[in-house]
Structures are given as C-alpha cells and as structure tokens.
Amino acid sequence: MTNSERLINVFVASLNIKQDTVTDELAYNTIPQWDSVAHMVLIAALEQEFDVMLDMDEIIDMNSVKVAKEILSKHKIEFI
C-alpha cells in the first residue's frame, strides 16, 4: 500500500467520510465531519499510522489534506 493510500484510509476512518472525498483540496472545517473533535482523532490516527509525533504548530497548521502531506513529508514520509 502506498503512503497516499494509507493517508486516505486514515482520513476515511477518522472523519467517517467516503474515499473519493479525500482530495488535496479537502480542508478543515469545510465539512461537518472535520471539526475540532474529529481533528483530534485524525491527528492521533496519522501519528499512529506513520509512527510520527506532530508538534503544536503542525497540529494547528494541518488544515487540509495537502498540508497534511506537506507536514508528513517533513517527517520523511514521501507522497508521490
């Protein structure tokens, strides 16, 4: 499974949304399912899936799928 597929699976499970909803453009607080509570679940799930520890700024800044990939890339998780 590619890292992109793993990322999509985490978003689907954490936000309880359909797979085709998870595009780079999907942004925090633009759908009811991605609120602050879901964001907390998402952060924990991303950390577990990719074995990383996100800091405060990364947690605050992670406001879209695209930014999630950028932040994870800093932790040497590659998305092709």
Binding site: Y28, D35, S36, I43, D55, I59, I60
Partner: protein, 173 residues
C-alpha cells in the same frame, strides 16, 4: 491572570474590545449565542465600563503568542455552579485545537479557583460541532428545549474526559 496550554487568559482591556466586538458580531459566532443581536460600539463600551463592578462574573481576553484570539467568561450562580462560554475569533485559530485548549484550561480554572461542583454550558441545538466539542470536554446533556441544549459536568466527569485528551494536550503544555 492565568495561562493554560499556551493560551493566556488576560483581563479584558479597552484596547481589546473593538476586535472582540467585531468577532462577536460575525454571524457564525453571534448566531450561536443566546443574545443574537449585533452589538454597537456604544453598547460594547458600556459593557466594558461595567466589567469591574460585576460580582461573580469573570471575563477573559484570550491570547496566543501575543495575539488576541478570542474571549471567554465564567459566571457563578448560587448553587455551586459556574456557567461558561467562549469563542475563538482569530481566523487562523477558529475551530482549531486551541479551542480545545481554551475549554480545558477554563474548566480547570473554574474547578480550581471557584467554589463550584459543576460547570454548565448552553449550546444552540443546531451547533453540532459545539455539542461534540463540549461532550469531548466531559459535558453531558441535561435537557433540551426551544432550540437550546443544556449540558453540565462535574469535576470527576471533567477529569475522566481529560484522560482521553491527554495525548493531544501534551503538545500544548
């Protein structure tokens, strides 16, 4: 006045009130409040001038990294209960994890510093995000009427909720 999870709870200053009024009047914030009318500059000034004379009401400007980000309050009622409210107005932080930090820090302060056995909040029934948010902070629904949901929590319920939040709160400590 106090700091919790990187957010400073400061006394409201005159320099804060116009920004707070602007945020307070935004539809996405105002329409979730009990009083949904827009506040004029004169009304805001009158509110501010009255703050010091208020008893058992506590008003805070919320600051993060020396930026004003929102407002919170707590009011003591006669039955060992505090009623709290908050909003994050700063666009970058609205709905972010900082709102969770503010909610936890405010509850900690209420249980530590005020003679209360429970904290209550009132949430618009249509505000599903705020309902989920408050339930995450340990509140349980007491009753619902006329478009409003009334929630409350004890210190024990709050501490149970905090255990589940410890993982994320640790990044803001």
């Amino acid at each position: 006045m106090f700091t919790g999870y990187q957010v400073e709870f400061r006394s409201v200053k005159k320099d804060d009130i116009e920004q707070l009024r602007y945020w307070r009047n935004r539809a996405d914030i105002r329409l979730m409040m009990l009083d949904q009318r827009e506040i004029s500059p004169a009304q805001q000034s009158a509110w501010f001038e009255n703050l010091e004379s208020q008893v058992d009401k506590y008003h805070f400007s919320l600051w993060f990294r020396d930026q004003l980000i929102g407002y919170a309050n707590a009011e003591l009622t006669g039955d060992h209960t505090a009623i709290t409210g908050l909003y994050i107005g700063h666009e970058k932080y609205r709905g972010s994890m900082l709102s969770l930090c503010v909610g936890v820090a405010l509850s900690e302060w209420c249980f530590d510093k005020l003679p209360v056995k429970q904290i209550c909040v009132q949430v618009a029934a249509k505000n599903h995000a705020a309902l989920r948010f408050n339930e995450t902070l340990g509140y349980r629904v007491i009753t619902q009427q006329e478009g409003w949901v009334y929630l409350a929590k004890t210190s024990s319920e709050f501490n149970d909720a905090k255990v589940k939040l410890a993982h994320i709160l640790s990044r803001f400590s």
